[in-house]
Subunit: 380 residues, 2 copies
């Protein structure tokens, strides 16, 4: 019997790594899921619901002790991992580029650690892609929270006393989060524009009914032919584009920034001068706060108001603020990963396919060592 442990996350992480739905399916694979009592409460999953799905609801140490697998949202503690079966599997959002020495210590426990953030972006792995599933929800919530903070309505309203104009929303960075932010701002009736360094996003932006903002000269048009990723643009182009964005930001009511580069600080898309040029009452929602933020004035985890009345909201865990959905989808991502790569379905036993590109792509530590190629070059 394969045992899977799931525990409560820290105080600032309301999500959980399994849902009653995925517990049922993990149980059908031949696993026994042992969940710390109350671990699902912040995602509105009750102990009773987990029990009904086939889990054992137990204390934290009972859940962990000697387990074959630990499923978590965030990087678990050394203590928790050390209490698992030797060489046990850990799958979580490990934050592989964060706190290197703690990661080495985690590897030192001998656990087999998978970082869900490293999931290859292949068609087969789409259902296991935690960055996408969580970014989609964050993009939605960024607009809803921004709208709640904004001192005006987003949609145009025709009333007998006069017309309330539509708010102007500008989405910077058109990945999964940005696309959902565009869609949500459009739903709410805002006048939406978006920009991205990848010319191929232009069509996506337009397909959602928003306007694409970029300097569309010959250089841009040639870059657009490259499928998916942008060519490096010339300094001249970059300067023109920056000037265009600076002029555009001035008149915006709601700006959502979503630019993240794996393993590196977030790019500063919005300078202090740009913020100072904005209108009082404008709201910036910075989805890159956990990597330092996309604006020069962002204070990660806080909401600040600048002297000229611009508010910058920089949440560290926006997907976690819609924990019910975020946990459900994250749990399904983990289930798809385990189901697709780790189980012998006939024998109902653990049988990790070490040759699987998804296993190789996400494996961070094994046998006491950090083994992922992305992490080798950074080792000191």
């Amino acid at each position: 019997m394969v045992t899977i442990a799931v525990t409560s996350e820290s105080a600032d992480e309301p999500r959980i790594a399994v849902s009653p739905d995925t517990v049922k399916k993990l149980t059908a694979l031949g696993a026994k899921v042992r969940i710390e009592s109350g671990a699902g409460a912040r995602s509105r999953f009750s102990d009773d619901a987990y029990r009904a799905a086939g889990a054992d609801v137990v204390t934290r140490s009972e859940a962990i002790h000697g387990a074959d697998i630990l499923l978590a949202v965030r990087r678990p503690s050394i203590e928790d991992v050390a209490a698992l079966k030797p060489g046990a599997i850990v799958a979580a959002m490990i934050d592989p580029y964060g706190d290197r020495s703690a990661l080495a210590a985690l590897a030192g426990t001998g656990a087999t650690v998978f970082s869900m953030e490293f999931m290859p972006r292949t068609t087969r792995a789409q259902s296991m892609d935690v960055l996408s599933s969580q970014a989609n929800l964050a993009g939605y919530k960024a607009v809803v929270d921004g709208a709640a903070m904004f001192g005006q309505a987003l949609p145009m309203m025709m009333t007998p006393a006069g017309t309330v104009p539509a708010a102007k929303a500008f989405i910077m960075g058109v990945g999964v989060a940005g696309l959902q932010a565009i869609a949500t701002a459009r739903r709410l009736g805002a006048q939406v524009t978006a920009t991205d360094v990848r010319p191929a996003t232009k069509e996506q932006v337009q397909s959602l009914g928003a306007k694409f903002i970029a300097v569309e000269d010959e250089e841009f048009k040639q870059a657009q032919t490259a499928a998916g990723y942008a060519k490096p643009m010339s300094p001249e182009y970059q300067a023109k584009q920056a000037e265009l964005v600076a002029q555009h930001v001035k008149n915006q009511d709601l700006v959502i920034t979503t630019a993240l580069i794996p393993g590196r600080p977030a790019p500063k898309l919005i300078s202090r001068a740009m913020i100072e040029s904005m209108k009082p009452g404008a709201v910036i929602v910075d989805l890159a706060a956990e990597r330092g933020g996309n604006t020069e004035l962002t204070e990660p985890g806080k909401t600040i108001e600048t002297p000229n009345g611009v508010r910058i909201f920089a949440p560290l865990n926006l997907a976690g603020s819609i924990a019910v959905n975020a946990s459900s989808l994250y749990a399904k991502n983990l289930l798809a990963f385990l189901d697709g790569t780790m189980f012998d379905k006939k024998e109902k036993t653990l049988a990790v396919n070490w040759d699987d590109e998804l296993i190789r792509g996400t494996l961070v530590a094994k046998g006491g060592q950090i083994v992922h190629p992305n992490l080798q070059t950074q080792a000191s």
Copy 2:
């Protein structure tokens, strides 16, 4: 020269009674608007913008002293009104049924007091209807704030990891606020239902793409023929309707209640038992909080969470939380009222038309007495 005074409201009232736009138009009518410095700040109207529109930006006492007219959002203090010209005009949301003895004292100053809440609901007065202009914004904000509080997304989302189901929103009371709440919840992709005691609202609900919830028996169908207002329904009908609503509320994620009866406590649409039957994580936004609330557990001005995990958000001034729009529309309502009933446009002088039904309908106090018919019967 007619002088109009406008001052800062209290700490919990961010709105203001004039906008730069209406100052310009009041100035064109021959008035000099005197605004307390900083009074528009919470509505993002700067002193400079008011000055550019023709206002004098002064101290509070300079604004008030000897003015012909005081425009306000909430009922002003006796001290402020006493400092105006004797018999001066005051127009505000007086809260005519609130604090009777303070209202008598206000009347005792000799001021001519108009209560904007008493504006007759005629075609001509639509542009002066402050209850409608503010309720519309409150209905929008109720859904946005409810969505921000709710631990799930409102729209259905199809993702590679699975489908996020659409949230169920239920709007109780289909007046101006309720209609805007329906429209906003629909915009955000919720599955929306609504109910009202007036059968004529069914078509309005359906025209917004929502489902009308009511016991539609023969009695209901006959009541529907009466234009606009419901006939009193039989106790049997009321019991059937209450049971239907109780069954319906159980499965809702977001409930917006909007039932207000002028001068009376808000009806208790949602009982303790109904709240106890709801799902953990469900959110109720109670727009009737300032009249005690539409649920048995509402605590006006607070957000509470019940033991079964239902949150009840009971804001006292939701329109004020989108102050830019709320002040703009309120200011336009006041402008339309003054423009339509109080000015001799050739002579550019004050010339109240005492025979105007709108003046008669809104006049609360004059010559030291409370004069409105609705307030006579309640006098002790």
